[in-house]
């Protein structure tokens, strides 16, 4: 869990003013968690480090554009990193064969262990059928496309798309 006292927003403000130490503080604070996120999506440690490198450069150059009205500073740096990783995987889809190197040692092959994770999202996920829940988690955590999820779960593509659409609607309902 993130340290409650760490001031992410102040760090971003300082980054926008050109303070390397502020970026360093963010790095010390979150690089391991961000690398974890990128590793799950990229399925490869070297590539994930490249993504985290790019993410920190982006955090640095875009810090001034962070809008606290839209979300937390911590959320923003995770979003930046995740979307860079997703874009990399989508843009290179022709080059990265699905699932070949994607199975990480830390990856639980049969679904996700949600025990020990607290938060509204986990309560709401519990209310979904396990297969539908797995669709959302493979998409968000593993960065799988519809097609990759269908392949992984052995479920028709159309079904996966419909499940995801409905599960997202259910989450919106549940979480407000």
């Amino acid at each position: 869990m993130p340290e409650p006292c760490f001031d992410y927003e102040a760090c971003l403000t300082a980054c926008a003013q050109g303070d390397h130490q502020a970026l360093r503080a963010l790095y010390t604070q979150e690089s391991a968690r961000l690398l974890g996120v990128a590793r799950r999506i990229a399925g490869d440690n070297a590539l994930a480090e490249d993504i985290v490198h790019d993410a920190f450069i982006r955090i640095w150059t875009k810090a001034a554009s962070f809008d606290p009205a839209l979300g937390t500073a911590r959320g923003w740096i995770f979003s930046v990193t995740r979307h860079l990783a997703l874009n990399f995987m989508r843009n290179n889809a022709r080059l990265v064969p699905i699932n070949q190197d994607h199975e990480d040692a830390s990856h639980t092959p049969s679904g996700f262990d949600l025990h020990g994770h607290s938060g509204r999202i986990y309560d709401c996920l519990e209310q979904l059928q396990p297969a539908r829940r797995d669709c959302l988690l493979h998409a968000y955590v593993d960065g799988y496309s519809h097609g990759q999820i269908a392949e992984k779960l052995g479920t028709p593509l159309g079904t996966v798309k419909a499940w995801i659409k409905r599960s997202l609607a259910a989450l919106r309902e549940c979480m407000g």
């Binding site: 970026l23 690398l35 440690n45 450069i57």
Partner: protein, 238 residues
Amino acid sequence: MNTSPNDNDDLASEYVLGTLETEQRREVEQRLAVDADLRLAVASWERRLLELTDLAPPHAPSTHLWGRIERSLEALDRPVAAAPAPATAPTWWDRLALWRGLAGAGLAATLVLGSMLLTRTTPLPVTSYLVVLVAPQSQAPGWVIQASNPREIQLIPLGVAQVPADKALQFWTKAEGWQAPVSLGLVKPGQRLQVPLDQLPPLTPDQLFELTLENPGGSPTGKPTGPIQFIGRAVKVL
């Protein structure tokens, strides 16, 4: 285009989840810059789903990652005026050794390269796009594309690519919305190529460039048929 709040919310939810098709993803990213409602919808979904990042086990980065980031920051920070005037101004690609070590995913390389262009002391043409073409597997940069105006590009080798004797390298590009890549001609390893883009629409961000291995006369079908040797996307230089 008319979009209802519901359309925006559906689009935002699948954008944040990561399940939009590549083209749709790109559309959303372009609209985010100008569409406050969509921005709000995306922010709500980012907030809803953020805690799921806890499911990815943390992993300590290697010890040199921060050093790489810091070197990139320094390259970005260096103001134009402060650049020391070298006795003989090195051509900018001679300095690639600097960023070759940094390069991995094309974006990083491109950012750094862009900043190095800015640090040159001699006047520069206004470069609007740069592309670093990297080998798909190793991500090693092999070529750079410089577009000093949108109508012409220069393909610049960073080394001599290995090509089997009975094969040739063919240069392709594809922008969003195009049906298929368009050939920009054959390329000799280690040789610079200047390509007028008169017959093509202007360059766009994210436009794809690639070099594939084809028969000596070029692809027989007019479309890439051989394996990709180098690939990259156009990034606008700020």
